[in-house]
């Protein structure tokens, strides 16, 4: 990593600290609201919140059943009110009324714009790509089983991890119906690519590939076959098993959740870490450990959460005695603060920023925690709320 890259990264953080107002000091309790006390959640659990881009706080989260059926629910906030809609399993009202489409697994949401998104629908062993803007529309002509999808910053291309003929690779798709121009980017015969993420300005595509020999970070910058590097070499990174990644937009930094591999038979508790890799795309990457006490839910790891151009990083601390508190790390000062949320058993979180009425950017937090606000059950519920002032929100919070 060059001195120039270090200096540029530090300058960006400093500028963020100076220009972007931080969360209000002294407002210790975050006014979260339980948003999953609805009939559709009866006997089910919430997971995987994902905030939308744009001007209105809006997110999609998954609702899972014991039989592993997964539905998608869209939630948006206007003033003090929340509105929601569940993505139907079928466009046919008749099939919906008969419950014929209830058994499905809708996952892998990738927002297209502020009010529509792509998602993966798995039914009966098939896994297909859909688009939702009020009605689920299948992307036609896509061969293979789609595992994951990401959208580029210009909203002209899709990037998808597609399994075909026993191989899973990353494809770039564009053109008529997104399938007339399909280009394979990754070529690893045994790697399983996931955690696709795109830098909005440069269009660089990052991913994690899991192989028999371990995990590695891949990149295509620009996202062309000739620019693909299946393995980004960063000193120290091979010591970890990479789980998920987030790009700090506007920079060449990625944040990664990772696991420290244990020896077979080891009785050491499993450790999960939050890592930063800067400059990986240039070939002179440097890695830093940001936190070593991360809690992650079972299954696919959620993405690391950031705000204020990467100044603040949010994670859940593996401190069961304290109910797995949500921690905010201020990277300019190095201080860590437990956010007072009023929730217990936090499982995963997501953060995004929206402009308030006065034009200031306000981070919104979505956190999956155990139990509802009345202690009636022990299922995973979803809580959302702003981390700074939001006109009208406080009045609606119970």
């Amino acid at each position: 990593m060059t001195i120039g890259q270090i200096g540029r990264g530090a300058l960006l953080l400093l500028l963020a600290a100076l220009l972007i107002p931080g969360p209000a000091q002294g407002a210790d309790t975050v006014p979260l609201r339980l948003v999953t006390d609805i009939a559709a959640m009866e006997g089910r659990q919430a997971q995987r919140p994902l905030w939308a881009p744009g001007s209105t706080p809006r997110l999609v989260h998954e609702i899972t059943d014991r039989d592993r059926s997964t539905w998608l629910r869209q939630l948006w906030i206007e003033g003090a009110s929340t509105f929601d809609a569940i993505v139907p399993g079928s466009r046919s009202s008749r099939v919906e009324a008969l419950g014929g489409a209830a058994e499905r697994a809708d996952t892998g949401v990738a927002w297209w714009d502020e009010a529509s998104f792509f998602f993966i629908r798995a039914v009966g062993g098939a896994s297909r790509l859909f688009y939702f803007d009020g009605s689920p529309r299948e992307v036609p002509g896509l061969d293979g089983r789609v595992d994951e999808v990401a959208v580029d910053g210009n909203r002209t291309r899709l990037f998808a991890a597609v399994e075909q003929d026993g191989h899973l690779d990353v494809y770039r798709m564009s053109g008529q119906g997104f399938t007339s121009e399909k280009l394979r980017l990754s070529h690893s015969p045994t790697g399983v690519e996931h955690s696709l993420a795109i830098e909005g300005k440069s269009g660089a595509l990052n991913w994690i590939a899991a192989t028999r020999a371990g995990t590695r970070l891949g990149i295509a910058d620009p996202p062309e076959p000739g620019s693909v590097r299946e393995r980004v070499k960063v000193k120290g990174l091979d010591a970890y098993e990479l789980l998920s990644l987030t790009i700090v937009q506007g920079t060449d930094e990625v944040l990664l959740y990772a696991r420290v591999p244990r020896s077979e038979g080891s009785t050491e508790p499993e450790r999960r870490m939050l890592l930063s890799v800067v400059g990986g795309g240039s070939g002179n990457g440097a890695m830093t450990v940001l936190a070593g006490d991360i809690y992650l839910p079972s299954g696919m790891a959620p993405r690391p959460a950031v705000s204020h151009a990467g100044r603040y990083v949010y994670y859940i601390s593996a401190d069961t005695a304290a109910g797995n508190p949500v921690v905010r790390l201020d990277r300019t000062s190095g201080t860590k603060k437990n956010l007072s949320l009023g929730t217990m058993g936090n499982q995963e979180l997501a953060v995004a920023e929206y402009a308030s009425a006065d034009g200031s950017l306000v981070p919104w937090l979505a956190v999956v925690a155990v139990g509802d606000d009345k202690g009636r059950d022990v299922r995973n519920h979803l809580y959302v709320g702003p981390l700074a002032g939001w006109p009208g929100w406080q009045e609606g919070v119970k």
Binding site: R91, S93, E96, A97, D133, R137, G177
Partner: protein
């Protein structure tokens, strides 16, 4: 007449559909005059009204339940050639399901709406009312200017234009509307983003957009 039986609206002509159509042509109209026969005073030997209503409904229902609405459509369209089937609740309910599965929302609505206005038992009336409510809650009603007016200019503005949405837009462009309830004329659309007469709309399920109300402002 026999050619008309095979003149159906469909988005794909599958191999099975060709076989079904061929069978209808080869075997001709069933001449059974049992209790399930669609009959009318002017029925002739070759009339579609001589078809076995029970038999064709059973076959169509079977095809639909097996996920082959295009095959079920062949029987629905064959029966529909006899106007008296419009008084059969069973036929209309099945036809609505077939059209809906094929994405022909206007025809699906027509069948349900017609069924809801038949004289029938209270239970059936309640069931049809519930089906209508469910339909209205799932799709978007576009009230247009009338069958003699200039077709509405409409474009889909979402990221994925699928066949069913395209077919619906074709109907709007061709001004092939229906009575969408309460004497209004228009179309049923899949919820989504559209540009209608130069104005962008995000049409939600259950929403009604009345172009006449906008025009009168």
């Amino acid at each position: 007449m026999r050619v008309e039986m095979c003149s159906f609206r469909s988005f794909r002509l599958s191999g099975r559909l060709l076989v079904a159509c061929s069978l209808l042509l080869l075997t001709g109209c069933p001449l059974s005059s049992g209790t399930g026969t669609v009959s009318s005073g002017s029925a002739t030997a070759d009339s579609p009204c001589r078809r076995s209503l029970d038999g064709d409904l059973k076959t169509a229902r079977d095809r639909l339940s097996r996920g082959h609405p295009d095959e079920a459509l062949v029987y629905v369209e064959a029966l529909r050639a006899c106007r008296s089937v419009n008084e059969s609740l069973e036929f209309l309910e099945l036809a609505s399901g077939v059209y809906e599965e094929l994405g022909d929302l206007n025809q699906s609505w027509w069948a349900l709406y017609t069924a809801s206005r038949l004289n029938n038992t209270p239970d059936n009336i309640a069931r049809m009312a519930a089906r209508l409510s469910s339909f209205e809650a799932s799709y978007t009603r576009l009230v247009a200017f009338g069958p003699a007016a200039t077709p509405v200019d409409i474009n889909y503005m979402g990221a994925v234009l699928d066949d069913a949405t395209y077919a619906v837009l074709q109907k709007v462009s061709a001004n092939e509307g229906v009575d969408v309830g309460a004497g209004r004329w228009g179309f049923w659309l899949f919820p989504g983003r559209y540009e209608i007469m130069g104005v962008r709309h995000t049409l939600l399920a259950g929403q009604t957009l009345d172009l006449n109300a906008r025009k009168s402002r």
